[in-house]
Subunit: 154 residues, 2 copies
């Protein structure tokens, strides 16, 4: 199954609706769960690294030893849609669970990046992290359409 | 002012709501208009090139000689958010209107790509073209926040 593990809630109603809609469409091909851990409040006297570490620990607590972990990371590999589809196909053969991990507004901690089996960059542009979730789900859906040789509009 | 010229309507209500919301936020910094030309029905005996040409003509009819045209193109330049902000700042000094052009499901015609002053690639991934519009607007908004030294969540 596919798990999308994110730090922080999607608050915008329209964005949440789009994300849930893609999750529903993906279910036709594969089981999927959207999971969230709480993002930490950024307090002035906390360092960013400390906050990322706390969020990272929450994320890591949800990851099992045998999971194939794909971290969304600006410094990760950039793939086109066909290459991503082929990777997803390969990852499914390696583990029963693929876990895509999306960090909070400060990004992912070093510990999470180290645990990741693959680091994926959706774009060189920095997106609102909730927007990354939408983009990721659209691409997972597109990947399954490609793998099942179904046409999909651009 | 900024014009976002796209081929085809955004039909999904939630997606339209998000796009309109970003347009409204951008208005705080710059005038913006969202414009659409009709996308052509894909009929079997029409070639894809012919359809792209027809759509391209409709798009070109909306472009003035003095406009600075930025075409969204998978083969274009990839920028990070800071670099895009700097480009937008530069383009505004070159022309009073920046026109971002988004093609239909088949992409942009050669004629439109030739008219473009800049070709911008949002990601190596192929997005639903209506999704590209949302991503573009989020990035334009982010650019203005960067140019005005305002903080913006990731």
């Amino acid at each position: 199954m596919i798990r999308v593990l994110a730090c922080g809630k999607v608050k915008d109603k329209a964005l949440k609706e789009l994300i849930d809609d893609y999750a529903k469409r993906i279910k036709r091909f594969e089981r999927i769960s959207l999971e969230e851990v709480k993002d930490q409040k950024i307090v002035d006297n906390d360092s960013y690294e400390h906050i990322k570490d706390l969020e990272g620990q929450e994320l890591l607590a949800k990851i099992k030893a045998q999971d194939y972990v794909v971290a969304l990371d600006l410094c990760g590999a950039e793939l086109n849609s066909l290459a991503l589809a082929q990777k997803i196909d390969k990852w499914r053969a390696l583990s029963s669970d693929i876990v895509f991990v999306i960090g909070g507004s400060l990004g992912l901690s070093e510990m999470v990046l180290k645990r990741a089996n693959y680091r994926l960059c959706l774009s060189k542009l920095t997106f609102l992290h909730q927007m990354s979730k939408l983009i990721l789900l659209e691409q997972i859906y597109r990947s399954f359409k490609i793998l099942h040789h179904e046409t999909y509009h651009k």
